[in-house]
């Protein structure tokens, strides 16, 4: 035990207060961690739809490739110039205290001017899938940030649980022992002093 520890009742009370604070903090952090884990599981279930989306995208891409070949690459490019690009905005939102990105679709791509109905439909379907992919990407980013936060909380809880609280408890135990030892010494000293005083008073009677 460190020799720098102040052995006093005040120090013991201070350490006990710190232990109480650390334990309360640990409990709160554990609760927050559990909440985050629950949220992460919910997001993980939603992210599982990536496989289905990828299959859907593969199908649409195959149709797009077919359209590219049927219409011709140059024509495909000139058709694409009739499409107004979509507008999206990336904003930050707090999810259980973790700042995660959120992608808002402000405007869908304007495909109504496409003079080929097949390409128009294809563009709409393609945007539906890409829009879902964008939302999925935001969820994946949120999941990643949540996992980072959970990892960070885990490290704090572990350090509280395995290092700070045991050290403080050990310190408190040491101070308590030292204080008890001191009080015993004090008691003995007082007793000795009392005996000596008694002895003195007894001797003075005979002199």
């Amino acid at each position: 035990m460190s020799t720098r520890v102040t052995i006093s009742r005040g120090a013991l009370m201070e350490i006990r207060r710190r232990i109480e604070l650390a334990e309360r903090g640990k409990e709160i952090l554990e609760m927050r961690r559990d909440q985050l884990i629950g949220e992460a599981f919910r997001l993980a279930r939603e992210v599982e739809e990536r496989r289905r989306l990828e299959e859907r995208l593969a199908l649409i891409m195959r149709r797009a490739q077919l359209a590219y070949l049927l219409v011709g690459p140059r024509e495909f490019r000139s058709y694409s110039q009739l499409v107004e690009p979509p507008k999206v905005r990336i904003v930050s939102k707090s999810l259980l205290g973790v700042i995660v990105p959120r992608i808002m679709e402000l405007e869908r791509p304007e495909v109504s001017r496409l003079s080929n109905p097949a390409l128009r439909r294809l563009a709409e379907e393609l945007w539906d899938v890409i829009g879902e992919f964008i939302r999925l990407a935001a969820k994946e980013a949120a999941l990643e940030l949540l996992c980072e936060e959970i990892g960070y909380l885990n490290r704090i809880v572990n350090s509280l649980e395995r290092r700070l609280i045991p050290e403080l408890m050990e310190e408190a135990h040491y101070i308590k022992l030292m204080l008890e030892e001191r009080s015993i010494e004090e008691f003995i000293r007082v007793k000795k002093l009392r005996d000596r005083l008694r002895e003195r008073s007894w001797l003075s009677r005979f002199t």
């Binding site: 000139s78 001017r113 109905p117 097949a118 439909r121």
Partner: protein, 333 residues
Amino acid sequence: MAIEIYLAVKARALKLKLLPAEAYEAMLRAPTFKECTELLSKYGYVIRDPSLEGVECAALEHMLSLVDKMIIGVDGPPGELLRAYSFGRVELELVRDALRSLAGGARYRPPRCSALATLKVGPRLLSTFKDLWSAVATLVELGYRTLGRAFEYYEEVGSVAVLEMGAEADYYARCWRLADSLLMSREVKRMVMLDSASRWLYWLAVLKFEGIGREILSTLSKCMMPGLPRHVVAYGVESPLEELSSVARAVHRELGEAFTRGFESGFLVLEAELLRALWLNATRILRLRPIDLSYALACVLALYFEAKNVYRVLSAKIAGIPEETVREALQLL
């Protein structure tokens, strides 16, 4: 008549230069773009630039040079018709592309291809247009009259399809005028008619789908199909499917079948089916080998389809599109 026989004989020599089916198969199986171009070089294609633009230029150059060789020294109406039909087709593609780009608010960037410099409305002119209005004004001066009327409708309804149909109507009206005025054989007129009818059917389906009104449809249809009897073009606009199929029957049995098969699977398939019907007619003429201009026209059409297919296969190789998809596209066509 002597000129027509001369052209038919020249067209037969040209037909021998067409890519055989095995060449397509070999191109599809070729693992790399380089092997593909090496294979094509045996058939007279010179591909210097391995980009999309370079490939397109090479295909168009090959087609236009062969057509040029066929009509060289042929003065008069038959040569004019062949020129209008082949060169006009390429020109129409560029004009439609330019209209789409300008309607989208972008300047048109045409392919830089020396073979296209001979076109009346070539890439050089098209690249100078700053906006749709100036483009249409210039094109009207150059003979695209229906496009001018279509532009008025475009301003009214805002559909680019109307503009594209207007430009196509001008092309087919020009071809029909030449075919009709020269006392061409029935087969020649039938061929031009079938071509314009297939495109007319396509645009009819597209514009009806977009909810374009009866007046606009009738006006553009009359310009696009001047050879058809009036009662066929003057249809009602009550039930699109019934009318379209009845018109399809009136135009051609093959087109009718193609249309009914294609409508369910979408407009791309409809377009492909209509092109296939046109191709079937061309191959029938190539098989019958008549000694008139229809044979030369069928050859030109075959060359055009070949150039487009070569461009498709090579661009698929550049884009890394799987062989099965390219095969499916070629089968559809």
